[in-house]
Amino acid sequence: MSKSLPTPLEGVFRRVPGVRWRQQAERHLRVELSEAENLPALLALLKGEAGYRHLSAISCVDWPDADEFELVYHLDSYTTQVLISAHIRLPAAPGRYVSVSGLYRPAGFFERDIHEMFGVQFEGALDLRPFILTEWGGPPPMRKSFDTEGYVRDHYQWVDYGPEWLAELEKRGGGIVE
């Protein structure tokens, strides 16, 4: 663990229960929250007191073995210039969380995307209507349980080539090796 934590951050981390942090890379802190519900408070403090005004992204990771979704909030400050990735875990069922779009406008896009791709519900989100997958009938495709190859096989066709050389080869006893 690095000792040199920028001053505003130290205070912020101390005030939110269950925060563990470590240096993940140069000027990149990895913060883990043991209690997911504390995240909005952390974000509010980071934005309000440490100048973390830029929400770079929210990433979602599906961990089917643990039956959990991991949400990672990547935050940057134009003043402190230390990237923070805050990790929380949610139970996959029911897969609900609160929206932070009131705090960070970009969250609106990411939450919509995660809702669409993973099926996570965000309470109070700006807009959770389908954006990319408006023509989609299947399950949330980014979930690990979604079988892409099976879906592709059921819905689309590939070309079954029959060039002359192949016919000739098959006559001679050759052919495509499966």
Partner: protein, 380 residues
């Protein structure tokens, strides 16, 4: 023929009506759609509709080996593919603890800045075309083509270079390449005054672009705007300088800013960045003439290459803004999760929707292009 099956629908009289921009519309950058609600000529509400270019990249990448993904990533943003390769490669290097040899780092900077140049030249053309100045587009696209020739010499392909690989680059420069690149750079620099005459100093353009799609700095930060669009509001933030990667800390360049935050300011920032890119490229060329060494660290067999478990978030300043990859590895031969954060995801949806409200219908296309939104980056 007269189709007699058209059912005439009486709509309630309204002062407002809906207009679809795209996906098949020349005012849309790429295959993307906007649904505008208009009152007269003024946009009352705008709704972005993406997904036309959705290929499920993030899912595809989970199904392919670490090395195979280098072929996939450049396709996420077609006009500016190299930052995609760089960001992906750097994430994998961070996870796998790979050291990129010095020469490879310079080579990567070379292609990154070349890509920025091509993207900006393309952008000038696109922006001009939205306001009817096609000459600028024809010039910009053809001048960009000269750089694509250089890409072809170096990487073997014009558009999808697939040149950067985790651990370095795939090939060294061919003989005479740096000289021919220098010539092209001189050519591009020599063309800039002509673009000034035609485009940047064109009174009609200034008239149209000034005050169009204006945002202030607070708005830009709130909406997650990055890159040239953010710098056009006066905030000098550039990942190349503030979070330097590769050898950016060792080259001299200025972070270009403007303060007006409108379409014209954004264009001017990009114009300035073309000059800075040329400056960086010349320094990189000098370095490449002297720095020897391998161009790739030894890699394991690509078919049996596992990356230790962990996660990495790497960011690159692409021509459009902050490009980031969040990659999670579970220690296997394929990524467990790749999340692509393209700058256009912020620019083309919420920001565009907000900026267009109150704008005139003729400016919608210009606002979209001036944000340099790249729909494939949104759709992935």
């Amino acid at each position: 023929m007269h189709p007699d099956h058209y059912r005439h629908t009486e709509l309630p009289p309204s002062t407002e009506y809906e207009l679809y921009f795209g996906p098949n519309h020349p005012g849309i950058e790429g295959n993307y759609a906007l649904k505008a609600r208009l009152a007269g000529d003024t946009v009352v509400a705008l709704e972005a509709d993406g997904g036309y270019l959705h290929r499920g990249f993030e899912k595809l990448m989970e199904q392919r080996l670490w090395i195979q993904n280098i072929a996939l990533v450049p396709r996420i943003c077609v006009p500016d593919p190299v930052p995609m390769e760089e960001t992906y490669a750097r994430a994998v290097e961070t996870l796998g603890g790979l050291e990129v040899p010095e020469r490879a780092q310079w080579l990567r900077m070379l292609v990154l800045e070349m890509s920025r140049l091509t993207a900006h030249l393309f952008y000038f053309g696109g922006h001009a075309a939205t306001v009817g100045l096609y000459t600028n587009m024809f010039w910009g696209v053809s001048d960009r083509d000269r750089l694509l020739d250089c890409f072809e010499q170096l990487t073997g392909a014009r558009v999808y270079h697939m040149y950067i690989t985790p651990g370095g680059v795939r090939r060294d420069t061919p003989p005479g390449f740096l000289d021919s690149l220098s010539e092209v750079l001189d050519y591009v620099e020599g063309r800039l005054p002509k673009f000034d005459d035609l485009f940047f100093d064109n009174a009609v353009l200034v008239r149209r672009a000034t005050g169009t799609g204006t945002m202030d700095q607070a708005f830009a930060i709130d909406y997650g705007v990055t890159g040239p669009n953010l710098r056009a509001t006066g905030l000098a933030h550039d990942l190349r300088r503030d979070y330097p990667y590769l050898k950016y800390a060792e080259v001299e360049f200025d972070v270009i800013t403007e303060t007006a935050g409108d379409a014209y300011a954004r264009t001017l920032v990009r114009r300035g960045e073309v000059i800075e890119s040329l400056r960086i490229l010349r320094q990189v060329i000098d370095k490449l003439r002297s720095v020897p060494g391998p161009i790739r660290c030894p890699l394991p067999n690509p078919l049996a290459w596992r990356i230790p478990a962990g996660d990495a978030y790497t960011r690159t300043e692409s021509s459009k803004g902050e490009l980031a990859y969040y990659i999670v590895s579970d220690g296997s031969a394929k990524p467990w999760r790749v999340h692509v954060r393209g700058p256009s995801q912020m620019h083309a949806v919420q920001t565009l929707e907000a900026l267009c409200v109150g704008a005139r219908i003729e400016d919608v296309a210009q606002i979209m292009f001036s944000l340099d939104a790249c729909p494939p980056e949104v759709d992935r």
